[in-house]
Symmetry: D2
Subunit: 366 residues, 4 copies
């Protein structure tokens, strides 16, 4: 039995988290994610969990670190500048192999920027904004139901692989209102956590959470274990959606809110007779490298669309390795691209397919 | 007239900075860069500048932000975790188009890690550890003289392009002792800074430094200007060194301390009759993409060696775009690869060139 | 039905607090009060409350501020330097007329000092370590049962008068182990808190907690209300203990651990035929001014003994107003006075009563 | 040769400090003292010193701690809440016997309060807002020239006694504009500081600044040395002003801006035939205890006037010890008393002298 509930993306992160057994939230206000701590402050105590507004994002992430070490399902959320402040803590949590969920409702940057939607923190999240060779499981919702279910999934993946997971959203997705089919009881898997620092419970040893390994070979051993984990994640957890790609000449690649707009643009293009599809990565790490490579080897060309000056496009190019043309179209600073401007860009790329040799305009328009 | 002075890499950063007119330093202690603030505390007051040990790296970078806004040549230094703590501030400085120099003497990570050498912060520096579409000029010294002169150059480039510049070093380079030919008077170019917040000086308006642009088109305008700057930097400031690449079948690609070890390994390989060269990027942003692509088009294959699990290798692959094999060999956690283990890897890759089809072992050895 | 439980003073603060309905604790480790957060981390979750180790004492007191505003019974604890860090927050909480309990297990000062017992924070607590004309209800336990019951009382007084209350203890009392007659159910009075910021609950207005009153007459009005509260506290909440004072010529005045030692010293003095009693203030604010004045008017002389260089002695002198001699004996820096050295001092003072005119040695001995 | 310069109190603190050789200032903005850092940011670099806006008052005072340890004449300034944030640092500096100057331009409290004048931080400054038995040299200017010369004196006293010195001012004095006779060259005495942590300079030992003394007798030794210093200060540095006290029946006691208003009130009282004088403590620690006691013994009665609910009045009562009536009149919350309301209070007290027995109204008027 489920029931349909109308809610905002920012509320869905909260409801999904609590349904998945999240029982601690630490955060600090920043637009456009303020509804997340607001709803948390209301629903978390009802669920018997801890809500705390910390004195800064720095404090938040270190409280997340502590709660994660204690084996609690714990979450924080913020928006771009606040996430930057968490980079040291995120590296520590990753090094300690602790599960937690971090929601980033991206806003326009760099600097203070503004509070409109953006996708300029892809590199920070996927390549590593903190120091060291760690990786973050990264999921990108494009709808309110996905805000709900991907957040819940993020907790399961984080626990399963003992690794932080990020929901990389944006201001459009966070503010969007849609119905969610909320299950009466969400299926979730909280594994036993024998490593948690919750006391000896009669054992001879106590658990220690630590990221200091003075001896280089020992630290390298940790890194190899982490790399092995990332390899397992890459093998098992790739998630993506293909729309109208089967017969496509040109495949748009986009995630989050941008993917919704690209879907409309692809439909408009189809109406004009252009065979255009959409490939939407849902997991950004692991990235659907193999799937995109196959599309390239099968003759598709690509147009990557991002609300940035080109970040995910690098992962697409790394997947394609020169086997097909990869165009790029990006807007930034909180400007959300319209279907019609993407359609223009599709026409340009599509003509290239069929003999046109205009110069590549795959940059922000003048 | 110059004189030869024996010094440590960490001292050379300081001497190069002060010779280049740096007159403010804000930092916080962390091994293996502690000699930087130590020497700064001694030499900076003698030069009539400000040395201040801040209460944290967070405070340091924001003091750098303030001093940079006032038009002073300013520097901070830290090591990996401390640099992570600066990510929000770095994004702000980049957004405000302010020049400054940041030295990162990388140590083993992630987390607290250890104090031995590493190159695991490449992504953080080059792709963007903070939020938003900014880029940092990044220079990687492989010797003590380069610690001196690249630091000085970093100030000139930062001022010229009004952009932060990073010296991406490592514990080996920071602790190394070599003679430096110190010029009596270093040639440096400090441009006028009419944008600095130093008072009206009779003008009608006052200067304001700001990174908040609420209106998306206005923020996108800033981003386009930044992208134009990055394009100019990419066009004009690529720096690299090629050693024995002219006739090479296999080109090692490495930077910093790793490049020194690779040079030895290449020489050992030559002694065995293998035609091996070394390509050393000196500027990591801008990356010598075109030079590497040309080498690939001219038939060279590559072996990228890093003290990480593979970060710069992505930029090499993006340059090569499938036109040549790109192998990878990495150590991490503070383990510095030896010439002989690199030589093993060279033999493996070289055999591939000549018909071997062993599985790719381009990962950290078991 | 009650049961006798053996416990440490530091544990008794925790058990008394939780029995009194305390459901939130925020703190940061510092010796000699570390058992307080340790026990809180164990017992508070069992009681369904929130335990959180904050990132500093500054964070702790501001979290106390927030929880108090939400109407929760909340406590923090620390030792001398940590309490100094809380002074701004304490002034804010007092200005906002919010109830909370702060435990100070005093250690040797000033500065880092050491971890041994001290009473050098009397002025800070009773006169006002923060800015503005506020006062803190201050209770000083001399035994483990008082650690338990005065902590519980502190919550009732704090709620009753909407004012912060401090338990001014010391390292001796905190580390002492004694049996406590723990009631099955502690009688406590948690009043309704219609002012708490817990939502509108259907009312037209929302509650606001604020200490900014830009208009001076408005702020003076707040101060007058606070002064009226302090007058009511002074009228109703004076607590003290008199031992052997009825026939005493000389009355020792001491609180906390020092009072226990003075009691022994007084008994030793009695054994030598000197009529010595002990007056022990239990509430330091409100101070038992009237009771001491009456003793002075009835011919008693005084010897104040403190683990400080003379702080409470000022309040005794203000009470006595020249009507009787007030001697002083103090030790500091973590040195706990012995009964025999106090006995020496008693002999000296007692001889003064009976004609001796030696110079006043009422200082720390050479 | 001197020249008359018109300036604000807040500017005079800066000019006096720099004239006295202050070469480092660390602060954080807060009204009503913002002109202090503003002028410092302008004049300090001209004097070859360091101005730095820290990230908080907590950071400021710890930077003061560091600079003082290095032997530099260093100052910070703030207003009430900011000074509360400094209490831990102040206790550390006092424990380390380091000289520095702290300016508190008091504002209405407690809490955020407001930005109008107040004298409610007397206890915090004179009794000890931080932990431990330390004392702060405290000077209270009542005019702009005193802002200049007492600040300069504060540096000399701080250095002479190796103790922090506070200028306890208020918003009225800080904002007041008056001419100051600025000497061409201020006479100041900066003693050698062989204890400063500026390097070994060929000696066998290095200097260490430390406030941690784990062994109680050793820490008590420090406290005895501090107490001996305070005794020397009390003996040598009492400063005060008597106006029309020679024949007075009633002596007003007030400091700072309040003393100016009391002077006018005393003159108005004289015009009505009442013999009223003014005793103005200039040093609050050391307090002119002996001088006030002598006035009491010579038959004067007292009316203490403060912009607080009664703080300095305790020190007056401790001096008088019941030998004379001590009335009190206070305003708070930023309300500055007028001469006429003080005159009312004088009439009331004066009538008491001559037989009236109305109840004591020595509180804030309804």
């Amino acid at each position: 039995m489920s029931k349909k509930v109308l809610m905002k993306g920012n509320e869905a992160f909260v409801r999904g988290a609590i349904a998945a057994g999240c029982r601690a939230f630490f955060g600090y206000p920043i637009t456009p994610q303020n509804e997340v701590p607001e709803y948390m402050s209301r629903f978390m105590p009802e669920a018997g969990g801890v809500f705390l507004q910390a004195e800064s994002e720095l404090a938040s992430i270190n409280m997340v670190y502590g709660a994660a070490a204690a084996g609690v399902r714990v979450m924080t959320s913020s928006s771009s500048p606040g996430i930057s402040l968490m980079q040291e803590g995120i590296s520590y949590i990753a090094a300690c192999e602790l599960p937690c969920v971090i929601v980033n409702v991206q806003r326009g940057g760099p600097g203070l920027g503004n509070i409109a939607a953006s996708q300029s923190d892809y590199f920070q999240t996927v390549k590593g904004g903190g120091h060291g060779d760690y990786k973050l499981i990264t999921l990108a919702p494009w709808s309110v139901p996905e805000c709900y279910f991907l957040t819940a999934l993020a907790f399961d993946l984080a626990d399963c692989y003992r690794n932080p997971a990020v929901i990389l959203a944006d201001a459009v997705v966070g503010q969007m209102i849609e119905p969610v089919e909320v299950p009466e009881r969400l299926e979730t898997h909280i594994p036993p956590k024998p490593w948690a620092t919750t006391g000896r419970h009669g054992r001879a040893h106590k658990n220690v959470v630590n990221s200091l390994w003075i001896d280089p070979p020992v630290l390298e051993e940790l890194n190899k274990r982490l790399q092995a984990t990332y390899a397992r994640i890459a093998e098992n957890e790739v998630r993506f959606q293909e729309i109208m790609t089967e017969d496509a000449d040109l495949v748009l690649v986009a995630y989050g809110a941008t993917a919704r707009i690209c879907r409309t643009a692809a439909e408009l293009a189809r109406a004009e007779g252009m065979k255009v599809g959409l490939f939407r990565p849902i997991s950004l790490f692991p990235f659907p490298t193999e799937q995109i490579r196959q599309l390239a080897l099968n003759g598709r060309r690509f147009l990557v669309v991002e609300m940035s000056h080109g970040q995910m496009v690098e992962d697409v190019r790394l997947a394609v390795e020169g086997a097909a043309r990869v165009g790029f179209y990006g807007r930034s600073g909180g400007v959300v691209p319209t279907p019609s401007e993407i359609l223009d860009q599709i026409r340009f790329e599509y003509n290239k397919l069929t003999g046109s040799d205009k110069p590549n305009r795959s940059v922000v328009p003048e």
